[in-house]
Symmetry: C2
């Protein structure tokens, strides 16, 4: 009937609470098994399997088979970015329990957005790098200043290697919880990896939240002037 792309088809994949939860869980950028995702969405494995098949068929999710496990992941970075954009225009989560509200707080404090940092920490970090003169904010992206080049190299990030990657280098990603931009792209990914390597941050199990270690607390304070 319509002369426009079949938006409804994709939307119907996202319109179901269980599937939306599965997708949100996959937004940490990692692989998850069907059983894991079933647990996170609080549904039986066979139901999750049913939903995952739909998501794979709709090209939102891809699957890799390894033995009797099947590992699911978001199909590509674009899907992750699209979902993050979707979260920003969606109404905030309803709080129904204490556990839930503390989990929401963890997510809002610091989380991964596919392959880079988001939440309060992600935004603060980005703004700190801007005010320190390492990054310059353009309309929808960040550019590295000469000072920044020195800084990132000294911090242990191989900028030339990142530039070689066939993807956006340093675009601005709108944070759904903070409603402000944070750094994404290859540079954002490089920083996240470095923070893990330095053991400044660790993952919180089952949700895509991030916890700052004591070492990280000191590091973020000293180098980025952020109180975590």
């Amino acid at each position: 009937m319509s002369i426009n792309p079949n938006m409804a088809e994709v939307a119907s994949l996202l319109s179901e609470a269980s599937r939306a939860t599965i997708l949100a869980s996959l937004m940490d950028g990692r692989f998850h098994t069907a059983s894991e995702l079933a647990f996170m969405a609080a549904i039986k494995p066979q139901t999750a399997s049913f939903h995952l098949a739909k998501l794979v068929e709709g090209n939102l999710v891809k699957v890799e088979k390894q033995g009797r496990h099947r590992y699911f992941q978001l199909a590509n970075v674009e899907i992750a970015q699209f979902l993050e954009a979707f979260l920003t225009i969606s109404p905030p989560p309803e709080v129904r329990s204490l556990k839930q509200s503390s989990q929401i707080k963890l997510l809002q404090d610091a989380r991964t957005c596919y392959d880079h940092l988001a939440g309060k920490l992600g935004v603060q970090l980005t703004e700190s790098m801007v005010s320190s003169g390492y990054l310059k904010k353009e309309e929808q992206q960040y550019t590295i200043t000469p000072t920044g080049q020195l800084f990132f190299t000294e911090f242990g990030i191989d900028l030339t290697a990142l530039t070689r990657k066939r993807r956006s280098f340093s675009h601005a990603c709108l944070d759904w919880s903070e409603r402000r931009h944070h750094l994404a792209g290859a540079l954002g990914q490089g920083l996240l990896t470095r923070f893990f390597d330095l053991a400044w941050i660790t993952r919180v199990p089952s949700i895509r939240a991030i916890k700052v270690t004591e070492k990280g607390r000191q590091g973020f304070k000293q180098i980025f002037h952020i109180d975590v």
Copy 2:
């Protein structure tokens, strides 16, 4: 249940073919009455009214009452941008009739994307302005060169007035039909308005396609070196 924003709620608004058609129809950025939208989505007025009420309640659409008419419009520019992004990751429309395929062609040739030009014409125009040295493409946006400043002013566009508007000035919008970027933001809107003022383009009734007039054909050729 979920600790993420209620994405499913918004998605369910888009997941229904009639509503998706209504939203796509509203993407021309203009106001439409309930009856018009009912006709475009090929449903009865009472059904359209039912859907429109949902869209308004979900903050995707706003309504203005004037006498016995109720005029509907997308709630804001962000929604329009979000929908355009949604179209790019959605599967292409299925062709079922000759009329439909010619309408699709019209849309792909030239259309409005809320308040700026999109489709082949939009992309060609943008790329022409880049190769002429009026615009410079950054990662996710365009910047005006000094030559460009002269050009736009001479073409009858008040750049200072546009900059004063509280919105993105010249970001890149991904074209769903061309899969390439075109110019959006206040500058994109300024250009569209100017083209209408110059009578280079007119609207095609009932779909958000754009037709280039004979005068426009000459203008686009002379000033932008595009064969339409």
